[in-house]
């Protein structure tokens, strides 16, 4: 269980470091960057998604296997 303890400690320390203005600013920037990236991913996925999700999902029926 030594690793478990190490992990918990590291996690505890990390939480403390997040305080302060500098941390918040960089967190906001990080958040914006993340959102930009997600928008980019969703745009791409929108262009390949099957049309008519409802019909697509409904018609996917498998026989059990194995």
């Amino acid at each position: 269980m030594t690793q478990e303890q190490k992990r918990s400690q590291r996690k505890g320390g990390g939480d403390g470091d997040d305080g302060g203005d500098a941390g918040q600013t960089s967190a906001t920037q990080k958040g914006e960057k993340l959102k930009e990236e997600m928008d980019e991913i969703l745009d791409e996925i929108d262009s390949v998604l099957e049309e008519n999700a409802e019909e697509f999902v409904k018609s996917y029926v498998q026989k059990g296997g194995e």
């Binding site: 992990r7 969703l42 390949v48 999700a53 999902v57 498998q62 059990g64």
Partner: protein, 496 residues
């Protein structure tokens, strides 16, 4: 003393027909496979049981074959990379060749995906315009029907089976935090499953028993099928049915790498008793909680999170590797294992570059936020399904991979090679190279035999009972000098 872990993965792919009238999944699977196999379809699968336990390098004449009932003309081919590609029930199934390293197995598992993708391209050319097939590497249709992704591991027959059950069950119940492929909602009528929006595993809703022989109903966490395709006095083939089909290479690598290591620990009897009080219930409850915080009770009374059990297995594995001779494979498995457990410990949802369930969850969450979708929305179910589409142009996993948004274990070149060539370090090498080199002179083959038709009076079977014989090291020189299958047979007869 633990034995080398010869391993393989069998994947049943989901198949559906779009705009196909009277879609028949059995015939469609057969068509799909045959369109890829071409003339290789002529080589039959050898169902005949091996009888006497002879040395793998010997050979014996074969009796006239009786028609086999299972073989009703449905596709069932052996590929030059040593894999088996066939129709199982109503699905195309790809069984990788036997591999000796987790990395090799990842390459061959990925090669399977690519072969399915290529098959789709070939079959498209013969389907009427407007019709197409879709293939998914997943494990459920979301309506209560599941199909499997099974792993196989060579295990020392001397290891008592009850010990395997005791020590492997808690591992299997908890490994889903990194092997889960993720699923919207829950299937089945369990009370705890009601209201589950998203869970770690595709498969665990379908498991009801701790130990058993079944694979299609009352599925057990530990499957007892005992068909070693090798010397049964020496070996067991542990048939694992509790895993999800993975697309993330890290997930596949860890699934087989950690399981192989834990099996070695079990063979050497190095694990303490970590038995769970209610393994089946724990399997479900852990899957239903993607935050990975759900605790489960051990028989000794402790309540632990799945991570705590995984850390414990990892600690024992590290000690084992340190004390035995550390191989690069073991070291790589330990590094990924520790890194992924650490990541889950800090924030499970941050593991979207490594783990399928987290990658899929991230997409779903982004759609929920942007489009204001409820978890019951058909669009989310469609995204769940399309995540597993094998086409690199449309599959959502593949879109993420293409844009560098998931971690890779193997290169495209390694995958390309695994599509064509067998692993070099197991008997699959002999099988695959024979198929590749003498396709017209092979009547049939299976995991433990290659049957030659060299025009002589009788067919000749070369048994390949030993999983670690027939490697490149053993047979490459002989294959190189054997122009024809007849040369090969006489070379084998001469004994080298």
């Amino acid at each position: 003393m633990a034995i080398a872990k010869v391993m393989g993965i069998e994947t049943e792919y989901g198949i559906s027909g779009l705009a196909v009238t009277d879609f028949n999944p059995v015939l469609a699977s057969s068509l799909l496979i045959n369109s890829y196999a071409g003339t290789l379809r002529r080589i039959r699968w050898d169902y005949e049981q091996e009888s006497p336990l002879r040395d793998a390098r010997g050979f014996e004449p074969v009796q006239e074959r009786q028609p086999v009932e299972e073989d009703l003309g449905l596709a069932n081919v052996i590929l030059p990379n040593g894999a088996r590609y066939y129709v199982d029930h109503a699905h195309p199934e790809y069984s990788t060749p036997e591999c000796l390293t987790p990395r090799g197995l990842v390459a061959h598992d990925k090669a399977g995906e690519r072969i399915l993708e290529r098959s789709l391209e070939s079959v498209e050319r013969i389907l009427p315009p407007g019709q197409r097939l879709a293939i998914y590497k997943n494990n459920t249709d979301g309506k209560g029907n599941s199909y499997g992704c099974h792993e196989n591991y060579l295990v020392d027959r001397a290891t008592p089976f009850p010990r395997i059950v005791r020590d492997l069950t808690p591992f299997f119940v908890t490994r889903q935090i990194f092997t889960g492929a993720g699923k919207v909602g829950a299937e089945g009528s369990r009370e705890g499953g009601r209201g589950v929006a998203y869970q770690l595993s595709q498969r665990t809703d379908f498991f009801e028993a701790e130990v058993g022989l079944e694979t299609t109903l009352k599925r057990p966490i530990i499957n007892t099928r005992d068909e070693p395709h090798a010397d049964p006095d020496k070996y067991r083939r542990l048939h694992v049915i509790v895993g999800d089909a993975n697309l993330c290479e890290v997930a596949t690598f860890l699934k087989v790498g950690t399981t192989a290591l834990v099996l070695k620990l079990i063979e050497d009897d190095l694990l303490p008793d970590l038995s769970l009080e209610h393994p089946v219930q724990a399997l479900h409850e852990i899957s239903w909680d993607p935050s990975c915080r759900q605790t489960v009770r051990l028989r000794d009374g402790r309540r632990v999170r799945p991570l705590e059990l995984q850390w414990e297995y990892l600690d024992h594995a590290k000690k084992y590797v340190k004390e035995s001779e550390p191989t690069p494979e073991h070291v790589e498995v330990l590094q990924w294992w520790e890194s992924v457990l650490s990541g889950i410990e800090e924030d499970p949802f941050s593991m979207h570059r490594e783990l399928d369930w987290a990658a899929k969850y991230r997409l779903l969450q982004a759609y929920r936020e942007r489009d204001g979708l409820d978890w019951s929305s058909a669009k989310l179910a469609a995204i769940d399904l399309q995540y597993h589409d094998v086409r690199r142009s449309r599959g959502l996993y593949h879109r993420l991979a293409e844009s560098g948004r998931v971690e890779r274990i193997v290169t495209e070149a390694e995958i390309e090679q695994a599509i064509e060539d067998p692993p070099e370090d197991t008997r699959a090498y002999f099988r695959g190279r024979c198929i590749g080199r003498y396709p017209g002179s092979i009547a049939a083959a299976s995991w433990d035999s290659v049957i030659f038709d060299t025009g002589a009076d009788s067919l000749q079977r070369v048994p390949t009972r030993a999983p670690l014989r027939g490697t490149r090291e053993h047979v490459e020189a002989l294959l190189d000098v054997s122009e024809t299958a007849a040369d090969l047979i006489s070379g084998l007869q001469g004994g080298s």
